[in-house]
């Protein structure tokens, strides 16, 4: 066990600290710029096709154009649709005779219903400090030479610990299969020098694949650009190597608070408190030992 392997704190080279030599490839990741996502779901389809991910049910969720719902064992890319409506117009609008002009054209832009759509393609975050990886008791989950986090399906025994170790609700045990599954960041494609299927299929380059350092720079420039254009709500999520999981390998540009997209606003890897937790367990264990000895000390 390498001493320098960190469970929390600054970590600039997760692959190197997992035992890969100095010539391992640079850390790879995704920058998902949701400001240019058009919600086409090509990423969902490409991921399913390439990785042979099984059907995850045909459910009409009745909430938006999103009938996928969430990431899961059989959903490794998930496109969220957020429709943010304003109030209904205060005065009833006279519909009049049917005309050729689009609705609202007669009253001008200010009379139209105000709303916007946020679309965002969610994926496994491939955390610097990955809760799923830390708690896996079989070694099925491992850090690749690209700094990504992958499940070895021939090892996993379906203990389910990773499911609860993930602060984002990404990894899940597949019903009927029993093992845990999630995005591999197309480990097989990366090994062959290809980009992951979702990024390859994305028609707007909302999903950008590359070296993480370079993606972070690009993302910072994009936020600045959006701020200059007046889109002040643009912000990065998961790009900060100083956050509760040491930064994500797959991070996002969002146009609203993270929880609106189904992200936790301030995720922390559960392993952060491991020493404190074992300390309390040690105290409880010591108390039990002391009491068990003491109960034999009395009369009777």
């Amino acid at each position: 066990m390498a001493d320098h392997h960190r469970v929390y704190g600054p970590e600039t080279d997760p692959a190197g600290d997992s035992g890969y030599g100095p010539d391992h490839p640079p850390r790879k990741g995704f920058f998902t710029d949701t400001s240019i996502c058009i919600g086409c779901k090509a990423c969902e389809v490409a991921c399913k096709q390439w990785n042979d991910v099984p059907d995850d049910g045909f459910d009409l969720l009745g909430m938006s154009y999103d009938n996928t719902g969430a990431l899961g064992a059989s959903t490794w890319r998930h496109v969220a649709f957020i429709e943010q409506p304003a109030a209904p117009q205060p005065e009833p609008v006279d519909l009049g005779m049917p005309g050729m002009r689009p609705p609202g054209a007669a009253t001008g832009p200010e009379g139209r219903e105000q709303f916007r759509w946020l679309m965002s393609s969610d994926v496994c975050k491939h955390c610097t400090h990955a809760g799923c990886l830390d708690v896996c008791p079989t070694g099925a989950l491992f850090r690749t030479e690209f700094g990504t986090v992958v499940v070895q399906q021939d090892i996993c025994n379906g203990c389910g610990y990773c499911v609860s170790g993930c602060p984002y609700g990404v990894i899940q045990r597949r019903e009927g299969d029993g093992r845990a599954w999630k995005c591999t960041l197309c480990y097989d494609r990366l090994k062959d020098g290809l980009e992951p299927a979702c990024a390859h299929a994305c028609p707007t380059k909302s999903i950008q694949f590359g070296d993480l350092d370079e993606l972070r720079e690009r993302a910072g420039a994009r936020v600045e650009q959006l701020h200059e254009q007046g889109v002040t709500e643009a912000r990065l999520y998961g790009a900060d190597p100083d956050d509760g999981v040491g930064g994500n390998g797959a991070f996002f540009l969002l146009l609203d608070e993270p929880e609106v997209y189904g992200f936790p606003p301030d995720p922390v890897v559960p392993t952060r408190d491991i020493r404190r937790m074992w300390t309390f367990a040690g105290l409880a264990a010591a108390a039990l030992t002391a009491v068990a000895a003491a109960v034999f000390g009395g009369q009777g």
Binding site: S164, D242, L288
Partner: protein, 364 residues
Amino acid sequence: MSRRSDGNRAHARQQGDYRPSAAGAGDAVERRGPGGGQLGPLVRADGSREQGMVPPAEFRSYYGRQILKTPAWEDKIAYYFFAGGLSGGSALLAAGADLTGRPALRRGARVGGLAALAAGTYFLIADLGRPERFYRMLRVAKPTSPMSMGTWMLAGYGPAIGLAAAAELVPKRWQGTVPGRLVRVLARPAGLAAAALAPGVASYGAVLLSQTAVPAWNAAHEEMPFIFTASSAASAGGLGMIVAPVSEAAPARRLATYGAVVELAASQRLERRMGVVGEVYGTGPAARYLQRASAFTAAGVLGSVLLGRRSRIAAAASGLALLAGGLFERLGLLHAGIQSTEDPKYVVEPQRRRIAEHGPTRTH
């Protein structure tokens, strides 16, 4: 279905409110305070923002859908934690009985400890998605995984308690044989080794549950180990009162009393301290299990203190009540965790509060 328990509360709550700067966007959305209660509209009908003393802890989510995954673990894992804790507590009781000359208590606690461990191991393996691959746990020893640490503790503890119990189970006609004598000679060292590992076996499950993103388990990491070990003590004391005659069972009664009192006190502290996440301990199946746990544990300890010295039947009944209390306690803790993943507010609200009070989490 893979999405069996993804909370689909599409209509329960409206998601984020985007308000263009144009006046007239006057829809009132639900605002939730730190306690989860509605504090009134965030935006008045005229579009003006409500000014509150406290910065609004506005709860927003993606159509009310759950953020975390529901834990994969079923009730079997609660049975395991109960049986493992019972076994560990029994190993301690057996070692004490061995050293202080209480043969009936020693025999019952050793055999009971092994039986509990066997049952627990069954539930532990049965709860895997691929039970036939249970031995994959032994590929690695991983300090960052409490489940791995627990597996290795059990790997040492199991043979030790097994050997100690085997000595009690050797039939008379084999006691003179070489293996029979060997087992009897090794029984005490094995029993002491089991007792040395027992507190770890009884407590690691608390770390296992707390070292997750599950809000109700993670936030309970101070109390949970004490609940686990106290509950093991209460259960093992209960078992001791069942298997040993009243004259030998005084240590079992005392162990049960300690366990019950600490378990009840730690549970109280937990539910008071937890803030919004504490709600789950008071609602749904978790609340029902925990109420039963408290009732049975309290009844068991009362029966033990009042009647445990006088009547073997009353002692055994009290012991059974303590065992039931321990089982319900673990079921309650399991379900509190499950419930805390099913509503995104238990993820969002504590994290938002943390950001409001201390800023976003920083590694250094």
